[in-house]
């Protein structure tokens, strides 16, 4: 019964939201806006569920003194500090919450992503092999665009940035456009299946 109610909800909400695109009635428009706002609120609650799930997992790890439980203490301390600062002191500029974001969180995040630069350099030497026609094309496109998008390319020859621009604006664009069209059609098909009640994996994989 519960699952049937869920499927009916998905069908009605989906059909209405899709058809509303073509309707200009004010009442349909305000219902559309209300449902969009509800979806946003539900998604926010889902984030809260996720956060509590992680907290519970780490509390369990600490409780059972599993390997690395001290790191779980660090993680929970991070959650606690941000929550207390955010709820008690506010999130405006100049608050401690914002300070931690600017001086710890954001720099650490960009450091984690920059780590990849080292691995890319290592992979460039060890894995970027031109063994077949296709891989030769891949390697050449990578080298030309890499050099063409920095001042060095222009210094080498004005041809390098021109060829790089051509690669980006013609063949690479064509492939990405086909991928976009393919994904678009795929998403439309999946959405139709959800609305028709044929796609039910969101109910828990049954």
């Amino acid at each position: 019964m519960r699952d049937r109610l869920a499927i009916i909800t998905a069908t009605l909400a989906g059909a209405f939201m899709a058809l509303q695109y073509f309707v200009t009635l004010p009442v349909a428009n305000s219902a559309y806006r209300a449902i969009l706002s509800w979806m946003q609120i539900i998604a926010a609650f889902a984030i809260v569920v996720g956060v509590f799930g992680v907290i519970r997992l780490h509390l369990e790890r600490i409780g059972r003194k599993r390997a690395g439980w001290l790191y779980s203490v660090t993680l929970l301390a991070g959650v606690l500090v941000m929550s207390i600062l955010g709820f008690a002191g506010g999130i405006d500029r100049g608050t401690s919450f914002q300070w931690i974001f600017d001086h710890w969180q954001a720099p650490m995040q960009s450091t984690v992503f920059s780590l990849l630069a080292f691995y890319i350099a290592s992979a460039a030497y060890r894995g970027f092999r031109a063994r077949s026609g296709e891989s030769v094309i891949l390697v050449l496109a990578a080298i030309i665009v890499m050099l063409g998008r920095v001042p060095l390319g222009e210094w080498l020859s004005p041809i390098v940035p021109n060829v790089s621009d051509w690669i980006l604006n013609v063949p690479a664009l064509a492939a990405k456009r086909a991928i976009l069209i393919g994904i678009g059609l795929g998403m439309v098909a999946t959405s139709l299946k959800v609305i028709a009640g044929l796609e039910r994996t969101y109910l828990g994989g049954r």
């Binding site: 695109y21 428009n29 806006r33 969009l36 706002s37 506010g90 999130i91 405006d92 500029r93 630069a117 890319i120 350099a121 460039a124 030497y125 060890r126 894995g127 970027f128 092999r129 031109a130 390697v139 990578a142 080298i143 890499m146 050099l147 998008r149 920095v150 001042p151 060095l152 210094w155 980006l168 604006n169 690479a172 664009l173 990405k176 456009r177 976009l180």
Partner: protein, 143 residues
Amino acid sequence: MGENLGEVFSQDYEGHPLATLPLGSRIHNYRDIALVISVADGSMPTYWVEYAQARYDVKIVAALTAVMVTSYIPYLESHQLTGIVAGLRGAAEYEQLLSAPGAGSRGMDAQSAIHALIAVLIVAGNVQAWRKRRSRIGGGGNQ
């Protein structure tokens, strides 16, 4: 948002009600916005294109991290995006336009050097693999 901005976002990031902001009192929906500039490191510009541009014909410029650029060029060519600021190079170009060189322009020499290094590593790796393969084939021929 196409009809009423305030219904979706009643306040700004710092919690001030939209109506109390000087801009908030003049801008009600997409029709009042000449250009949306999306500075993003995720898929936000895609949502702008798919929901705001496709339905309300809003002009959108995206300032992207470099890794996203190739995915957005088709939107630029089809005029679904009005412009792109592409990664650090785009930032440097923007600084040049403003005649105010900053972090973007400063980073270009280092960026050039590391790109050259990676290109050299790719070539060196391939040359080494080719030599190894050749010596293996040569060795096989002697057997």
